[in-house]
Symmetry: C2
Subunit: 525 residues, 2 copies
């Protein structure tokens, strides 16, 4: 069933560019078939179809769009074990993880279907005319949000389902009413084709114009750059490296008409161990921390890559417990040879760093493409003096920073770059220290956690998977959770528009039963 073809609208199209193969990282072997990259003409055709589909797609009713999202979910489930098996083979991730990720992917699509139906994201507002107001009458003014335009989504390597072809960026863009063109990640081309075919089938079943979705392959940056710089594209969603994300930001800002880029890039997710928590639970924290650090070979954007604590015997207990747990952690297959190599060189840089000592390493590699976990330690002064210690090492490596006191810990927090998350390990007696940290963390991160671990990002209404630059390109948004729909919307105001031409969301009598603001007052009328 996997053909190696791209999906341009309703067509399956064989690329003519350089071939990409899936690699089974656990074996180090190529998986057939070849996926040939797209050409400028393929990009052109996908963009033309998306632009042609846009007005019709964004004008679908809320119910039609919700059913479409649910149909995508159904079609993904209908792929059955072929999708799971292919994702396992291409990613090296275990079956339980991939099955869970599939559940998350379809759950996400269904959650966005609910969001579309509820319609709060339209932010409908009506300021009725005041014809007798002095000195000047007021016109009838109504506002809703509409879809921003066709969106390009770059699949992420580390979630071949939930952050890829039919992942969160695609689901939220569809929910907003935007056609989507996905640039498939070369690490899981077969998984991408399968998910793409599910979306293509859902588009057809839903009677939508074919340009609502296309899937294009391509190694290197040529296809991606062509997509991002096409004048018909209105926004970009991306999850990946800082180098990749900032390149897209530059390309988008350099267009004759600049467009927003929502790039989720890099984060070291600091964990603050407060003194009382450390005094009472250093050992269990150390063990649980290593669990979070090594989960999925550490290949999460929210992986805890930095630990800050006041130096002393309780920190030694934490370090000892973490070292013991880590030393027992088996090496794990990483997503791709390239990611594994980057991890190994990042870990080697810390191993050999003059200002860093090695606390422990995990079990050594027993097969190809495996990453050996590692835990390092430094002191606050060295951390401040060596900017390279703040760089993300994507994988199961983390750095403990010994702080002389709480004030120094606070000062380090203030110096951190923007992060997706910050975690505080806390007991009640730590409340003053935690309260002092909070304003700094609010300015620096998108999500603040207490007594948990940052890995495991819930798809819900209150989630923020975003944060100040460079954790993302745009800290005003999230790429997980229902607020993500807002990235692909813009407001339009209708002044004295005749009733017959008003969109349903803004009509008198509220035919859609929306929450709306009438003269600023929220209600369902």
């Amino acid at each position: 069933m996997i053909t190696g073809n791209m999906l341009i609208g309703a067509q399956a199209v064989a690329g003519a560019g350089a071939p990409v193969y899936g690699i089974d990282p656990s074996l180090g072997t190529k998986i057939e078939p070849a996926f040939h990259g797209g050409s400028q003409a393929d990009v052109e055709r996908a963009c033309a179809l998306a632009a042609a589909a846009f007005d019709m797609f964004r004008d679908t009713t809320l119910e039609q769009r919700a059913v479409f999202l649910e149909t995508v979910a159904d079609e993904i489930m209908a792929l059955g074990d072929e999708l799971v098996a292919r994702a396992i083979a291409e990613s090296g991730l275990p079956r339980g993880r991939i099955e869970g990720e599939r559940g998350r992917t379809v759950g996400q699509l269904r959650l966005f279907a609910q969001v579309v139906r509820e319609g709060g994201w339209l932010d409908a507002r009506i300021d009725p005319a005041l014809p007798n107001r002095a000195p000047l009458p007021r016109a009838d003014l109504r506002q809703r949000h509409i879809a921003i335009g066709p969106v390009v989504v770059f699949g992420a390597s580390n979630f071949p389902l939930a952050f890829s072809v039919a992942g969160g960026d695609t689901a939220s863009a569809f929910a907003a009413g935007c056609p989507v063109i996905v640039k498939a990640h070369s690490a899981h081309p077969g998984t991408s084709e399968l998910a793409g075919r599910a979306i293509q089938a859902a588009v057809a079943k839903s009677g939508l114009p074919e340009g609502v979705f296309s899937l294009i392959f391509g190694s290197g940056r040529e296809v991606g750059t062509a997509l991002v710089t096409d004048p018909r594209i209105s926004a970009v969603g991306f999850t990946g490296s800082r180098a990749g994300g900032t390149a897209l930001m530059r390309a988008a800002a350099g267009r004759p008409v600049p467009i927003p880029v929502y790039a989720e890039m890099s984060s070291i997710n600091p964990v603050f161990l407060l003194p009382s928590a450390l005094a009472s639970r250093a050992e269990s924290i150390g063990k649980a921390f290593v669990g979070s650090l090594t989960m999925g070979a550490g290949q999460f954007c929210t992986n805890p890559g930095l630990v800050l604590a006041v130096d002393g015997p309780d920190l030694e207990t934490f370090i000892a417990a973490a070292a013991a747990a880590l030393a027992a952690a088996p090496a794990q297959t990483m997503l791709t040879p390239g990611i594994c190599e980057a991890y190994q060189s990042g870990a080697a840089r810390l191993l050999e760093h003059g200002a860093v000592a090695t606390i422990a390493q995990g079990q050594p590699q027993s097969g190809p493409t495996q990453g050996q976990a590692a835990l390092f330690v430094t002191d606050a002064a060295s951390f401040l003096a060596n900017h390279d210690l703040t760089e993300e090492v994507f994988g199961a490596a983390s750095l403990v920073v010994r702080c002389p006191d709480l004030a120094t810990m606070q000062a380090l927090a203030e110096k951190l770059e923007g992060q997706l998350t910050a975690t505080i390990q806390f007991d009640d007696a730590d409340i003053d220290a935690a309260r002092a940290l909070l304003p700094t963390l609010e300015r620096r991160v998108g999500r603040i956690l207490f007594n948990g671990y940052p890995t495991g990002v819930e798809v819900c209404h209150a989630m923020v998977h975003g944060g100040p630059y460079p954790s993302t390109s745009d800290g005003r948004t999230t790429s997980v959770g229902t607020l993500a729909i807002r990235r692909f919307l813009r407001p339009v105001c209708y002044q004295d528009v005749p009733a017959a031409l008003l969109p349903a969301a803004l009509q008198d009598g509220n035919p859609l039963g929306l929450w709306r603001r009438i003269d600023g007052v929220l209600g369902q009328n």
Copy 2:
């Protein structure tokens, strides 16, 4: 009372840079005193104060912040006629206009006070913990929006009160909880100092940290660039030229940490005259159109600079009526000699353009700094072939495009750059033509008006004064109306944060009485 000093926090500071003087454009004379530009050290101090004030200011209660906004409004009114007289002298605008603009300015501040109190902009969300959920429990997740950080606002030339020191950008940034540093517009330095002193007094009366507000002068781009590139600045608000706005966009995108720029730049605000409306009302439309075109010497972002209609006798009637009205229109004093010069050279370019004919000119200049209104005409093919005809001429000049048919009018609409507004003159029989235009206009503009004129922007909940690039740098926002607060906010998620440390907006029992989403369901609990 006007000293020529800058306001850095609570201090009045004499600049040491090149002097700027207010110019009375109706006389062409300098107004004392001199306003000396700020230095890098002044910028540094204003930014340091703003950063120091940020946590305290954003942590004020909704009521405290609302009262602060109302106090700014009161202090502006307390300036009395000195403010009005100075604004008239520096802008050449008539008293009625300046008094109306003052009313708009204080009304805007008071409207944002209401918005702050209501708190809907916090978008508070709670997804309660599900400890027994299988296979994994859900943490307690809560989300609110917080202020983005210190904001730099560039005053606009054409609204010395409502889009300047205490204008919409400042009001919405304060409402969000952001300290503001205003770079005063050199066209009205005395008006800026007075408005700045009103804000400074309100900061002191409200017991807020002094860094909540600073006002800096400076000719040229040095001070502005220093402000926008300071690492403590988190966002920029600007209203002005496309050249100025795009320069700020480049500066902001080139920072080590890029920040959002909300620049409202240029728009020619197309007016579509549909056939039936033209058949029944060509004369009255022509007259009213010239009223909108020449209002305030045409110095509005929403000035109707383009008219599209199907050629024929009804269009001739419109042209004749507009020509008669325009020929009688007196030349009007423009804001500054520079703006007047730019207008004259823009109008001269059209006067001499090979593809353009002159329909009428207004009364000639009778004093310094006056702009003579002008109306031009071209045909659709020439309009398409000459990109320079789509460029804004800031002032009372407009261009009529004769279209051979409705399809051509629609095709021209599709080719237009992003605009703040589009206007449709419409009678019931035009409904099909209007319906066909609407999807295009929704994609191209921020506000669509029927049977009105785009000048006159209501400050209310449903207003959008924004639009796709290049009308603004960011079509996802508005710079007028209550939605403008969203530009200066970002979401933060709180996971398992102890009750004692939760912000009031997210506490159990809803102590602020906010509209919140609990598990996605909107309610006041």
